[in-house]
Amino acid sequence: MRSEDELIGALRTAGEHAPDGGGDLLAGVALRRRRRTRRRVRVLAAAAAVVVLSVGIRGAVLSGGGGGDMATTPAPEPPVPRSAPVEELWPGAVFTLPVEAPDGARRVPMTGISPTEVLVLARMPGKEGRGRLEVYDSAAKKSRLVAELPGSRQFVIPSLAADGRNVVWQVSAGKSVREIWTAPLAGGKARLVTELTGSRSDLDAISVNGDQVIWSERSGGVWRVPVAGGAPDRITATDGLHLLRWPWASDAPAGPDLDDRNQTVLVDLTLITSHEVDSRPGAKGVRCGPHWCLGRGAGGSFLQRINGSDLRDIDGVFGHPKPLSMAPLLNRFVPLKHGVHDVATGSTATIKARTLALGAAGEPSTILYWIKKQGSWEVLNLAAVPSAQ
């Protein structure tokens, strides 16, 4: 049994970690007021006697209104830069994954590990503790087992990472206790790497690189431990840093999140060299990978190089109620509400789906998925998109 104090603690902690965005509140209220005025105008317009009046008001309101409103005439979504449906543009990168495994387990794609392989979490419905990691090979259309998850522990969803050899993930082993587990990608038994407790247990990113597991804490600071096990060791000069994808770190979390914080440096942890990010004034949620940054400005989302050059606007970036803060994936791809923009070629793959999901991994995922037909995921493996050259 838990105590009431634990419940109070959980609520307080969540409250303290609530994403900020307070600066937008007044604007949000103003927008709502305009929307409501418009709805009222629509009611008025229904009565023919006041048509003339309503046209006058509507004209005035529309000129001051924002996008995406429930207006008298439904305002269309901001136009998505149109190129081609994803199946046409990148036919080799999209595949279908049956949601249900032969034994009834439900699969969720997590992240890509090669152009033809995707890591998949498969769990038995109703027994969320029981599950396994699989690799789905999109060329052979087959799954193979990587490892069974340790039964008594709860898998922490956004916590999976892999390099060419190993996969690592987190499980929750009680209040403020996290464990890092590993298994060989080729298949084998899951093994405990290390246990983290108390303030050490709140991770925001994890990577594996050869014989090291690397992660960062939500409050900042990057740690590592040998895959073989041992005592974690804090990497020097990483105060306040968050892991992006090994070896890169940032002074803002990797995201995706709704935080307005701007990244101001990109640090290479192998050399502890850093690059300053040059953002334009007023920018919010700027996050950068080794090449490109994505951020929000007064005029909408934009892309830029780390040094501020090559600035371009981009419409319809993924996220609700505002575009999510995150660096382009694989230095190249920006998820949109209705597709993916390829920064390298300037083209856009459109995706027709009610909802698009980004793989949930411990480092930025390289897959997107959606439902096209009942019972199966359509998966876009970004690692399978041909290079721009």
Partner: protein, 173 residues
């Protein structure tokens, strides 16, 4: 912004972050929290003069948020769920432990009762007034919610529960 609303703006700037935190604890996600706070602030701005003079604007907003979350919010929630995407997709970026996750599985009204009792630190009587339900309903909602979360109620609460549940003891209460 309408002229003469400087005070309202000040209130939003000063109390906005705290209200967003409260909204986040109520709803469990940032998008819904922002919507809930904005909607409640819109209502507050309509009756700002009255509320400012008579009541506490903050209490007014918090009450509005709790009520609204239970009522029309339901509609929105369904839209989210019909997409049938598994947990762990992009909206689920925060995990504060198992208890926080399990809170998301509670019926909305039970969650609101817990938040008011344990986050807002209100008495069952105050909760009953805010939500417009009886004190008994508050207690039973809290009881079921704590049970589902496997939280042991404090001695005072369990005493009240046992009294309430055995009719023979009613006189003693």
């Amino acid at each position: 912004m309408r002229p003469g609303d400087v005070e309202f703006d000040d209130f939003v700037r000063a109390r906005g972050p705290a209200l967003l935190r409260y909204g986040y604890v109520l709803t469990g996600n940032a998008d819904d929290a922002a919507d809930l706070v904005q909607e409640a602030l819109l209502k507050l701005s309509d009756s700002w003069k009255r509320v400012r003079n008579k009541d506490s604007p903050e209490a007014y907003v918090r009450t509005t948020m709790a009520r609204q979350h239970i009522s029309w919010w339901r509609r929105r929630r369904r839209e989210h769920l019909t997409d049938d995407l598994p947990e762990g997709s992009y909206t689920d970026v925060h995990t504060f432990g198992e208890l926080w996750k399990e809170l998301a599985t509670l019926p909305r009204r039970q969650r609101v009762v817990l938040v008011l009792r344990y986050y807002e630190d209100l008495s069952d009587k105050e909760i009953a007034e805010i939500l417009g339900i009886s004190r008994g309903t508050v207690r039973s909602q809290a009881f079921h919610a704590l049970n589902a979360l496997r939280v042991k109620p404090s001695v005072r609460e369990s005493a009240q529960q046992s009294v309430r549940q055995s009719p023979g003891n009613r006189e003693r209460a």
